[in-house]
Symmetry: C2
Subunit: 207 residues, 2 copies
């Protein structure tokens, strides 16, 4: 805002006018948004915050009293901090941890494929049940990337879910077909990371 | 992975070899990360998930039993879902809501400046106290963008905080000076948004 030569009153008046216009524009847009449906949400990109934002959505849904399903395609992806919280909502949340570890830690492709298949079957069970207002498929993208599950089969399962179910899928390298099918896609981009400066993973931040 | 003409056993063997190399490289990198310090984290960009990921970090810290401080620079930014959860951790979390509403809803610049100043003073109180392992300054970036607070004053306050305190700052249009000072910066980019298709804000997803 260029304010040289303006009095404080003039700055305030111009600000009020500008904000009134913004509010009118925003209200007009909101009035056109009337549809309600289960959303397919994807968090991808190389930056941090994909699973953390999904965890935030889970907590928000739990706060509303909703039932939530979580399927972890990579074991150990969620750590002590999250587990301690989720344990407090055991009556609202169902967690299925099917992966056997990061794929680069197991080095056993057949076992990883079997785990991915079992996790996907657990997800499809949740899709049938309208009680699950939110289903989180954590790190499904990594499984799709390695072709442990067929993308077309996954898209079909998502399309056949109960129409009220919101689904959140996380993981870098989301497939184009998934992005195409999704309602809301956010890419987390890493601008700066403390690992570069030799800082180690810390409780409460990384796990 | 090009797998034409390979047997299933050959594919599995090559996969195991590739993953073993990845794991070795990753372990080597992790061994060099030994520093521990309070991080300055920024979530910016026009996409969704900035405050939601911060809320996820808050919940993770609460799961570890840490004390958490939250300063909301824009009132009403966090809604019923989050509040219902945070109320369950009232003994661990201190919330100071200082803003009077989205700036485009108040249209009163002087009142917004006073609210921003009060919020910043609350944040500085938390910075002095090592008990606050995590301090969230929600939507501080919007306040800095409108120059309601001076960026240099904010940077100085951040630099003077207790060295163990992690700080998370959210909001689009993070100032370059803040990005420069931060340890970890994630930009949330909107790839796709259901608003485009007329879908309204829904409980558990938007609030």
């Amino acid at each position: 805002m260029k304010t040289e030569g303006m009095t404080e009153d003039e700055i305030n008046a111009r600000h009020a006018e500008k904000m009134a216009k913004k509010k009118a524009a925003r209200d007009k847009i909101l009035a056109t948004k009337t549809l309600q449906k289960g959303l397919l949400i994807v968090h991808t990109g190389k930056g941090k915050g994909k699973s953390t934002a999904a965890f935030g959505l889970v907590m928000r849904a739990l706060g509303h009293g909703f039932r939530v399903g979580i399927v972890q395609f990579v074991k150990g992806r969620w750590e002590t901090g999250e587990r301690a919280i989720l344990d407090k909502f055991a009556d609202q949340v169902t967690i299925r941890t099917m992966g056997e570890g990061f794929t680069w830690e197991t080095q056993d492709r057949q076992r990883d494929i079997a785990a991915a298949r079992a996790a996907w079957e657990a997800a499809k069970e949740m899709f049938k049940d309208p009680a699950y207002r939110l289903v989180l498929l954590d790190e499904l993208n990594i499984v799709l990337r390695y072709d442990y599950l067929d993308i077309q089969e996954v898209l079909q399962g998502l399309a056949e879910r109960h129409p009220d179910n919101h689904v959140v899928i996380t993981g870098r390298n989301a497939k184009d077909e998934l992005i195409e099918a999704a309602d809301l896609v956010t890419e987390m981009t890493m601008i700066k990371h403390p690992f570069r400066d030799g800082v180690k993973a810390q409780a409460g931040i990384e796990f």
